[in-house]
């Protein structure tokens, strides 16, 4: 079976050096979000909980720009804007 990583490897990205995704408050993630849906609902698995820093790691470079996280975050804690012009995902087929 193909892993998600294998699939994402097929997608063309023009990565920016700055993230278009920011977590507003790490405190909210840690204290008021036991389920952390962003860590599993994202089709590209951009979000991962980092136990050591008690915060969400954001791998914005692999973001497919669908917007699922914006609506799926129960604490409305993800500040998501479009990547700068020309950056981000570039589909071949669409």
């Amino acid at each position: 079976m193909m892993t998600l990583e294998d699939k994402l490897f097929l997608v063309r990205f023009q990565p920016d050096d700055r993230s278009h995704i920011h977590i507003n408050s790490n405190d909210l993630c840690q204290k008021e979000c036991p389920d952390k849906p962003c860590t599993f609902i994202c089709p590209a698995m951009v979000y991962a909980w980092n136990k050591e820093t008690a915060s969400i790691n954001v791998g914005y470079e692999g973001c497919l720009e669908c917007g699922t996280c914006r609506y799926g975050c129960p604490r409305d804690n993800i500040h998501w804007v479009n990547p700068r012009g020309g950056f981000g995902v570039m589909y071949k087929f669409g």
Binding site: M1, M2, L4, D6, K7, L8, L10, V11, Q14, D35, P37, F40, I41, C42, P43, A44, M45, L64, E65, C66, G67, T68, R70, Y71, G72, P74, D76, V81, N82, P83, R84, G85, G86, G88, V89, M90, Y91, K92, F93, G94
Partner: protein
């Protein structure tokens, strides 16, 4: 080079694609931003089905139009299932099938109700769908939208890619407050326009910021993931039982979404399949599932597995689909601004229609702007005609008809679990030859059904379905 020749070259570049040409186009774009006028009659934000239909119709109608796209080119960030409907597309681009990049005309539509290890199937095949004017086609948005953009440019619209609109530009206060342009992330990035058409897609950041769309909830949107899977030559004709060039769509219900509110699909392209699944975001959250996991399980269903054998995945894509329907349609117009397509929640989930509603809304918005221009009035009062047009058309009529479907499905999750299994058990009983008399079989089927759901409950479900879909 003359202006006219320059434009011709731009259009040629937009239509074709190769690394060197792409680079040439990129250089052109940089050079162009500085040189373009920063005042237009209409500004279209977003090069998808809605925005491109709007830009083309506007330009054809003599409106000085700017189309702003954040991707490399219109289509590079666009995702769809991918069925394009012929009739509404031809209303914007007559005879498009003679020139546009298409995959296959669809001559057969199938639906599979999946339970574990089983499928109940239905379908309709008509060879007349293989003739002009066709019924629908599979397409790749990346190619088709690029083509539409070329048409819009040829009609006179100016395209600026790799540019993000970060906010709307306003003037005035209170009821007199109006949109007078857009702010982009380019240097000196403000562009003025009499009217702005918001065609930014389902992730409607600007419409929300402008207060036109309320904050949406995870129950209003589905998350869809898709793979484009390349098959060996000739495999599509063989596996889908069609003649050369003919296409098939299969909609997948029940186990395809692991019993969640949503739908899966397999569509045939020229030499690839589009295989995807969409599930409501709140259901994924509740079940703790990643959409790719749902897709992988679906691909492994024994009724689908043989269709995908030796397939090579060549792309993986994701998109959100507005499923809120009629009740979640935002404010469609205000002073100097119109909202179209997915941004306006114009998706008919029951019939998996979206791109046709988007294109029709873009066209109607453009027609309203052409009228408004003639009157010199871009106020909400004048732009109200856009909403009236949508209300008089299938767009809002269909959404209104199905306005309670999403609510019904979300409050009755057993529709996606109990009934598919019930149907499977009944069919299994009926089709298994084991020397049990048919009368006893029928009795057993009724008994099994009543164990899962009482006759009163079933009657209630049927009544609710009839009320909602009828």
């Amino acid at each position: 080079m003359s202006q006219k020749n320059k434009k011709k070259q731009d259009i040629a570049l937009a239509k074709e694609s190769s690394p060197s040409k792409d680079k040439a186009m990129k250089d052109k774009k940089l050079e162009r931003w500085a040189s373009i006028p920063h005042e237009f009659e209409a500004i279209v934000v977003g090069g998808g089905p809605a925005g491109l239909s709007a830009a083309y119709t506007l330009a054809k109608g003599g409106v000085k139009t700017l189309l702003i796209e954040r991707g490399d080119f219109p289509g590079s960030k666009n995702v769809m299932g991918g069925v394009l409907y012929s009739y509404p597309t031809a209303q914007v681009f007559p005879d498009f099938w003679k020139k546009a990049p298409l995959e296959r005309p669809i001559i057969e539509q199938r639906a599979y109700l999946l339970a574990e290890d089983s499928a109940i199937t239905a379908g309709f095949k008509d060879n007349r769908f293989f003739e002009e004017p066709y019924n629908n086609f599979t397409v790749f948005r990346g190619r088709f939208d690029k083509w539409m953009a070329g048409e819009a440019m040829e009609a006179g619209a100016l395209l600026v890619s790799e540019t993000v609109v970060t906010d709307l530009l306003y003037e005035g206060e209170g009821t007199g407050k109006k949109v007078v342009g857009v702010i982009t992330n380019r240097e000196e990035g403000t562009v003025r326009g009499h009217v702005v058409l918001l065609c930014e897609g389902a992730n409607s950041i600007l419409a929300q910021r402008a207060g036109l769309q309320e904050d949406l909830s995870p129950g209003d949107l589905a998350c869809a993931v898709k793979e484009v899977i390349k098959l060996p030559k000739g495999a599509i004709e063989e596996r889908f039982n069609v003649e050369k060039g003919q296409g098939v769509t299969i909609e997948l219900l029940g186990e395809a979404t692991l019993g969640m509110f949503g739908m899966g699909w397999i569509y045939t392209n020229k030499d690839t399949l589009s295989v995807g699944v969409g599930v409501m975001i709140n259901e994924l959250s509740r079940r703790g599932l990643n959409p790719n996991t749902v897709l992988e399980k679906m691909k492994n269903h024994p009724a689908l597995r043989p269709l995908l054998v030796e397939g090579e995945t060549v792309e993986y894509l994701a998109k959100i689909i507005p499923e809120g329907g009629y009740k979640q349609v935002p404010k469609l117009y205000s002073n100097g601004v119109l909202v179209c397509g997915d941004t306006a929640m114009l998706v008919n989930g029951v019939h998996r229609e979206g791109s046709n509603l988007a294109m029709t809304s873009g066209k109607m918005a453009a027609e309203t702007v052409i009228e408004a221009k003639a009157k010199g009035d871009f106020s909400a009062e004048a732009l109200k005609r856009y909403k009236e047009r949508l209300e008089d058309s299938f767009v809002l009529k269909d959404l209104k008809k199905y306005q309670n479907v999403s609510g019904l499905m979300q409050t009755n999750p057993h529709f996606f679990t109990v009934y598919p299994n019930m149907a499977r058990q009944a069919a299994q009983e009926l089709f298994t030859v084991n020397n049990v008399p048919k009368k006893e079989k029928q009795k057993k089927i009724i008994r099994d059904i009543r164990k899962k759901r009482s006759l009163t409950q079933i009657a209630g479900d049927l009544y609710r379905i009839w009320r909602t879909f009828g």
